[in-house]
Amino acid sequence: MLYREVGQYKSSYAADMAVFPILQDRIGIAVILVIAYVVFPLIGNDFLLNTILIPFLIFSLAAIGLNLLTGYTGLLSLGTGAFMGVGAYACLKLTTIFPHVNILIWVLVSGLFSSAVGVLFGLPSLRIKGFYLAVATLAAQFFLEWCFIRIPWLYNYSVSGAIEVPLRTFMGVPMTGPTATSLTRYLAVLTIVVVLTWVASNIVHGRIGRMWMSVRDMDLAAELIGIRLFRTKLLAFAVSSFYCGVAGAMMVFLWYGGAEAEVFAIDQSFLILFMVIIGGLGTLIGSFFGSALIYILPIGLRLIPGNFGVPIRPAAAEQLTFVIVGALIIVFLVVEPNGLARLWQIGKQKLRVWPFPY
């Protein structure tokens, strides 16, 4: 109904292969960007920015990271939390050693460290697959977690044993540390997420994305058309871990402002995996949907009783939230195993063929 595609013709392959070939989609993206960059900063209070949007974006990025690995390349990973941790700790070390370099650069560079670690733990993918590989990533998860706690150098020997985020400024504006406002951090996170999402979309729409998907869909055939499986998988590990690492660094530096190793625990890995699967494996937009559903929905659920005056104790509400989220996950999987992104696609398709049913 909203899609009026008359007159949108492609006279070049570049245009035809664009990520958003439909004008209305491009308008939609533009509107979303305007809302994200202009409307939210104008209307957003700390709660919206700090509790909803920043985490939402960071989780989305981590979910994209995992999606590149699990959704696009078909390699199940349960070590996302730890890879995020590598990013966070790398960022801390980098900005400690080189305090004058802009923190945002370090946030991105720390992803590279995460990549390296990801590749290391991706090595077993040469021989093992599926759930077996998932256990290899679990080894990464627990080993790295242990490192975060056990190697005081990583957290600068701080007494609390936690990452304490120092103040870093960009053109005089505090970016991280206690005096950085939610708005600054939000804009930084938003920009990084937008840019990296764009890059991810470039990757998955190009040769590398096809190689990954080939490996996922039918690894024998992929080998047959000349793809080196091992290299391709390692590349997926590297890129995926990069995204997770950046997300982890942002999580600590631009959201929490300090964190214990615990935040990179196995729960985090599962949370991101939820997001990816509920959102839709093998879709970037699904990562955002998953992040919204898994992260924001429980917040909403927690707020509902208070706002509607339902007399329910917070603890019970919390327990109910668990029950509801658990049930919702099952319901969503039953209703649409391919995730929210698939629903979105169906909805979009319906709009495109409106008023026809097909």
Binding site: M1, Y3, R4, V6, W354, P355, F356, P357
Partner: protein, 661 residues
């Protein structure tokens, strides 16, 4: 009679003119290899010149006839122009014609060269090669599968262009000589021979001069204010005058862009991508779209269907009034705006008609309901009345004066009159030069003082002065009780129902009217699926009693509507049957432009016709059919006949109407 500026009085000259005026504007697009390949006017000139010179090298010369066979592809249009630049005369032939039909036309036109689309056409030409001794060269566009063919008389389009380009490069004066030769052409020269399919008998070659077509096209462009910004999609047969004028001559005179679809079955999609601004289609196209709409909507969810039905009702009630800028209540306007958002806009969008500024329906009369439907949803659909012999335009409806049952006023420079016998005659600059090698037929149609007999019966509607066509003059008859019986009128009414694809009304000289129906396989098939009707073939579906019930209902509704029209009320359909096979141009039942060949059909199915009037409830029929690959066979069937109760005539409707008729 207006004449043309000699610098632009032929199509090749217009090309040169456009290449300098609109140089970098797109002239043609073709969806090929997945994207729209575009050529500007300058590029088109370059392509045409190279091909033309190449053709010259191959021996094509002034006065030669050459044929063009294939679907709408830029290169085939260029080939026409390239040949015309040499003074040769293109004779486009319907691409779906079987070899047999082609043989007649090509032999009659004495073509010496053929430019064809692909292996399929080459094969056909090779099959009839010995009957075409003059045919010396075949140029093909698509090399696929032709690699191992004997290339003695076969050459690819590229190779011809390569010859031309080589010549241009090696011979400095060649370009000038070519242009000079082209400039030697004049407006009065014969530009094209179009074989009309003819609803009766053999095809006749209509000879049109450059002046004929260019002046007509110019007038039409001015009439509808068409300029270089229009986008049209070329999907109608190249050999049809409509396409020739519309996708070629009008494009050249106005400078607008012609878009060739990827394939015949992607036309709707391609039209949507391009977003045509000016559309030209026979009623059948609009019928098909409506059928698709209704079939798909039948599968939609209940709510959606309700919304759809509601807004379509709104459109029927107010749409045309809003389109014609009449005063309508605010509520209606609001509802209509909602409908535009929810239904009409998306619908037009789906069919690629959103941007259509002017849409014409021509070639055949369109059912008034169908016509109103499209106008109701905001498509500026107009009627025109045209003929090959007139370079299309005889009458057309000016904006704002549009009535579903008329075909408009005389086009610019066209004179019209109705003969005493009720036949429509016209005289215009577009009037053809005669039938090729057939002075006898020419004399029958073209009077010495330039009037052309259309063969259609019509009158001027006294309310608005527009021409109203009733039927082919010779088809309009009377029932035995003297009631006027206009078969096509009935047929058009019937064909409004998506389930009815084709109808043949019978009744001239008989005591009542009857109809033979062709069901629409898509629509009825979908209905069958929803209603658990099992069928294995068209024939089986057609014979299903429940399908008969369905069709009977439609005819009954038609009868009711007829009963309200005083003139036609007596011609209600008393009996009908559903034909066991689809009417098919390959069997000569339809023309290549899908018009009924009524006489032929009545002959072929005479046992059925007899059965209508001897009271039997079923009849045996055996018909010969031609299969796709050309071989013949017969099919036999018992066809059931149904009776219907006519509706009482709504009395004393309007005395004025009677007088007008």
């Amino acid at each position: 009679m207006p004449s043309l500026d000699p610098s632009v009085d032929t199509l090749p000259k217009l090309l040169i003119h456009n290449a300098s005026t609109f140089g970098s504007r797109p002239a043609m697009r073709h969806k090929d290899l997945g994207i729209w390949q575009t050529w500007t006017w300058a590029q088109v000139l370059d392509e045409v010149r190279a091909f033309s010179i190449g053709l010259g090298e191959l021996g094509l010369k002034r006065g030669d006839k050459f044929t063009i066979i294939g679907t709408n592809r830029p290169r085939l249009y260029w080939a026409m122009c390239a040949g015309q630049a040499l003074g040769a005369i293109p004779v486009p032939v319907y691409a779906d014609a079987v070899a047999e039909e082609m043989a007649y036309v090509l032999a009659h036109a004495e073509v010496t060269l053929a430019v064809v689309e692909d292996q399929e056409q080459v094969d056909k030409l090779i099959a009839i090669a010995e009957r075409l001794p003059q045919l010396s060269q075949i140029v093909y566009d698509e090399p696929r599968g032709l690699k191992d063919y004997n290339h003695a008389r076969l050459i690819s389009f590229e190779d011809v262009q390569a010859i031309g380009r080589k010549k241009l490069a090696s011979d400095a004066g060649c370009g000038q000589r070519w242009e000079a030769g082209m400039r030697a052409g004049k407006g009065k020269d014969l530009s094209v021979i179009l074989y009309t399919s003819g609803t009766t008998g053999r095809s006749k070659g209509v000879m049109l001069t450059y002046e004929n077509t260019i002046i007509s096209a110019r007038n039409a462009n001015a009439f509808d204010r068409l300029d270089e910004n229009e986008q049209v999609i070329a999907y109608l047969p190249l050999a049809w005058i409509g396409d020739y004028i519309f996708s070629y001559v009008q494009a050249f005179t106005a400078g607008y862009c012609v878009n060739c679809p990827e394939a015949q079955d992607t036309v709707v999609q391609d039209r949507r991508e391009i977003g045509t601004t000016y559309a030209f289609a026979p009623p059948r196209v609009y019928e098909n779209l409506l059928t698709i709409t209704m079939v798909r909507m039948a599968d939609a969810g209940r709510l959606k269907r309700k919304v759809f039905d509601f807004f379509i009702a709104v459109a029927r009630r107010w749409g045309e009034k809003i389109l014609d800028r009449e005063k309508v209540p605010l509520r209606a306007r609001l509802l209509y705006a909602l409908g535009e958002f929810f239904v009409y806009g998306p619908l037009k969008n789906q069919f690629g008609l959103s941007r259509v500024r002017i849409g014409y329906t021509a070639g055949e009369a369109i059912g008034p309901e169908l016509f109103s439907f499209y106008r109701g949803i905001g498509l500026n659909l107009k009627q025109l009345y045209g003929q090959t012999e007139a370079s299309v335009y005889v009458t057309a409806q000016p904006d704002g004066k549009i009535y579903p049952d008329t075909v408009g006023t005389a086009s610019p420079d066209v004179e019209l009159k109705i003969s005493d016998s009720g036949e429509v005659l016209y005289r215009s600059p577009g009037v053809f030069a005669g039938y090729y090698k057939d002075p006898e037929k020419t004399a029958e149609v073209l009077t010495p003082d330039g009037w052309v007999h259309t063969g259609d019966a019509g009158f001027f509607d006294p309310k608005n002065g527009q021409l109203k066509i009733i039927d082919r003059a010779k088809d309009v008859g009377h029932l035995s009780d003297g009631t006027v019986f206009a078969p096509k009128y009935l047929e058009n009414k019937l064909k409004f129902y998506p389930n009815i694809r084709e109808a043949v009304a019978i009744g001239a000289g008989r005591e009542f009217a009857c109809a033979m129906i062709n069901i629409d396989l898509t629509a009825v098939g979908s209905w069958a699926e929803r209603n658990n009707v099992v069928y294995a073939s068209y024939q089986e579906l057609a014979a299903n009693p429940r399908v008969y019930d369905l069709i009977a209902q439609h005819i009954d509704e038609t009868n009711r509507s007829l009963s309200e029209e005083e003139v036609m009320a007596g011609a209600q359909i008393h009996r009908f049957l559903i034909l066991h096979k689809e009417l098919d141009p390959d069997d000569g039942e339809l023309t290549r432009t899908q018009k009924l060949r009524r006489g032929h059909i009545i002959d072929r199915y005479s046992p059925l016709v007899e059965a209508f009037y001897d009271g039997s409830t079923e009849a045996q029929i055996t018909t010969e059919v031609t299969f796709e690959d050309g071989h013949k066979g017969t099919i036999a069937a018992r066809v059931a006949i149904r009776d219907l109760k006519p509706h009482p005539v709504a009395a004393a409707k309007s005395a004025k109407m009677e007088r007008a008729a």
